[in-house]
Symmetry: C2
Subunit: 192 residues, 2 copies
């Protein structure tokens, strides 16, 4: 998506350790208009899939998740990262390794909200190694729901998570795929 | 707001310990249409305030924050709850005591995104004792920004946080104010 690529080139900052900082428009300050454009684009791509639930993971997935879900006219569910006293009853759980936080955590979705009659679009702001997506896909499978595919704002193509999923036959649509980044020069190259 | 009150009566569940579970439409599964109605209502109420930033706190504030910000045609900023390796540089910080998680944590907003030229609307899904709001208000003050007021989905009136803020002259607009709840009968009474 051209406007997202242009925004990454304009405001994204490359740091060592494969870190792309886009917190001026995606995951600290959020440009809601840009997220709405991502929602419109994903609606076009998944228009024929009869999506009944959009699924994401807290925290920064919630913004893109809400803005996408409104175009599908369906609820957003966000997987929670730790058990709180407000979640009671039966839950689906899976384990996710965090690239950003360098730890492993459980993700949880209440069984009340995901059923085997649902068709699910998984969305997230970032896709790197695919750890969060794998956890969410695991939960969709536990629910017996149908996975339409994934919709991602920024995929780090060189970390391989997206292609690994595509090779398994899972549909992954990323609005921008970064083929390589250079923290010395700040250069960012997109996949064509 | 009538549709929110009706939804609370229909789908909210009262548990002991002052817990109102609304995770079927507000903070686990999100009814994005309902949040859009809240956004429209807050836009009406704060229409003359020239809001330049909507500010909230992760995680469940992000949904309502995004849906509100799009009506004000301005960015959303969400305060982060712990320092991650992706936040660099100068930040505003404040401390918040969590009712849900029974702990105290730091909240962080990058100085890049909140300036003394901003006029801020703070939004959140819940207002109980007002701890999260007080932390966010503290950050707005540190930035030297103008606080237009607060916009809340559900205020637990009997916990007093909202009225304490109003008594300080801070504008607090809550879409539903619960005057009392009874976990034995499930009864929920709204402020009129």
């Amino acid at each position: 998506m051209r406007i997202l690529e242009e925004r990454i080139l304009k405001d994204g900052k490359v740091f060592s350790g494969n870190v792309l900082k886009v917190d001026s428009f995606l995951n600290h300050q959020i440009d809601v208009k840009l997220l709405a454009e991502i929602g419109k684009e994903l609606k076009k791509l998944y228009n024929d899939c009869a999506i009944t639930k959009v699924l994401t993971i807290e925290a920064s997935g919630i913004g893109v998740g809400c803005m996408v879900a409104q175009f599908f006219d369906c609820p957003l569910i966000f997987a929670k990262k730790s058990k709180t006293i407000n979640i009671k009853g039966d839950v689906y759980t899976s384990q996710v390794e965090s690239f950003t936080h360098q730890c492993t955590y459980d993700i949880i979705v209440s069984k009340d909200f995901l059923k085997n009659t649902d068709t699910v679009l998984i969305v997230d702001d970032f896709l790197a190694k695919g750890n969060a997506l794998n956890g969410l896909i695991d939960i969709v499978r536990q629910a017996g729901a149908k996975l339409a595919g994934c919709g991602i704002a920024i995929e780090k193509g060189y970390q391989g998570g997206g292609d690994k999923l595509r090779n398994q036959g899972i549909r992954v649509e990323s609005m921008a795929i970064i083929e390589k980044m250079d923290d010395k020069t700040g250069e960012i190259v997109f996949r064509r």
